[in-house]
Symmetry: C2
Subunit: 109 residues, 2 copies
Amino acid sequence: MKTDKLERLQAAGWKVGNTEDFLQLSEEEARLVALKLSLIGAVKKSRIKRKLSQIDLAQRMKSSQSRIAKIEAGDPSVSLDLIVRALIASGATTRDIQAAFTTNERAAA
Amino acid sequence: MKTDKLERLQAAGWKVGNTEDFLQLSEEEARLVALKLSLIGAVKKSRIKRKLSQIDLAQRMKSSQSRIAKIEAGDPSVSLDLIVRALIASGATTRDIQAAFTTNERAAA
DNA sequence: TTAGTCTATGTCATAACTGACATAGACTAA
DNA sequence: TTAGTCTATGTCAGTTATGACATAGACTAA
């Protein structure tokens, strides 16, 4: 764990002893969430760019409109698999997907 | 669809009329599979690089050794979520993940 | 040999995800 | 108003993914 974060947490009154596992996990969890959000944004951006309605995209990937809405709303029931499938189906290029990751990197830094 | 691919498929005797949806889907499916494989490779590479056993990595991400083995074996029961979580837990940097995408891009080109 | 470490594979109950459906809200155009 | 299009949200039965466990194989070192 990074020292500055550790200090901030300790200053906030956190006991940072055997809770390292927990903190470590949180940081990784946060990274995954940030990544998902980034990809979700890319889905919506790509869909709009191609002038596709949620129904259009749903048909392309053999899903349903409600699921597309949930994807874009960041619903917790949506898997990373589905997000990426939507991204691909929406016509996003590999470069677009990479860009989403890059955005994620900036946000995490 | 790209013309060369279309021609290859037609030459192979495929009827490329109203089966476009199917072919389109296959192409997207293939892209997802390629992406997964690429990330799987990155997981193993990152794990080995950090000298972690499958058990070590499993503990880091609160999973099990058998699941790590399945990830690396490309078992169909493994989700993209789990692969990416393993990748993050293995200590892979965002740059490493991006590199996996780059590899994928080359493979798809 | 024996023991230890690491990885692979199968199974299973539980948990998580999915598409489909209903329904509602926002907005636009007759 | 009315109808149409698009999106949001809730529910649910069926499907898929999960961790845990057992077990086996490969390899190394005593």
